[in-house]
Symmetry: C2
DNA sequence: CTAAAACTGAAACAAATGTTTAAGTCAAGG
DNA sequence: CCTTGACTTAAACATTTGTTTCAGTTTTAG
């Protein structure tokens, strides 16, 4: 059942209305339409937006997040959540490794010019 | 003595010529000019660009890098390098901490929607 | 029924980080 | 000298992640 308006989702997920529309355009969330062409979201929409924000903290782009969320059904089962967790965790660890590598370079004692 | 051309600096620092001009416009490096108005860089320019690339790996913006490099004289003394090392290291550690915080949230066991 | 609040798409704007293109100038080698 | 490759500025373009504005439409509460 799609009952939530743009501003409902915005309020529940903590982003702006324009961001909600943007995310729909980008395929991170999907919406039905009223007879008057207004968007109506299911209750999972706000959740997906929150997941998207978490993924953004990790450094994923909207395109990457779209692919991530593409694997998340409207009504996810525990296995879906688990897969998402693993992918997000792996991404975060990857970025952390990259930063550590940069840090190790900085600390290597070599001149910064020679990195 | 300023003898290096744009493409010299580009080659030595591993960035494109347009990036070298961009960095000069942004104040990361400075250049003299020939009588014919062409840029000529000192030997430290390529080094500064390399430092800038390291800082970018850490996630600093060009504006932040400008401020970082503003504290680096054309012919830096060991203390200058040390200060730069410390600032870069602190920034990297900060970003790593932020990622760890995100990772901890993800692993907290709470639903991703509730972060 | 009506007035206010929320919604619509399209397009312009914004900031960051460069790249590309155009038309023209300079420098270096033979 | 003269050709060729490198240089110049300015502006347009590209991408990302949205925000703002416009003019008009829909929904909702009273």
């Amino acid at each position: 059942m799609s009952t939530l308006t743009v501003s409902d989702v915005a309020r529940e997920s903590g982003v702006s209305g324009s961001a909600v529309r943007f995310y729909e355009r980008q395929g991170l969330i999907t919406a039905g339409r009223t007879s008057g062409n207004q968007r109506r979201f299911g209750p999972e929409a706000a959740c997906r937006v929150r997941v998207a924000r978490v993924a953004q903290r990790i450094g994923l782009s909207v395109g990457e997040i779209r692919e991530l969320l593409a694997a998340l059904p409207p009504d996810p089962e525990p296995a879906d959540w688990q897969a998402l967790h693993e992918r997000l965790t792996a991404e975060a660890e990857q970025r952390i490794r990259e930063l550590h590598a940069a840090l190790d370079d900085i600390r290597s004692g070599r001149k910064l010019c020679e990195l």
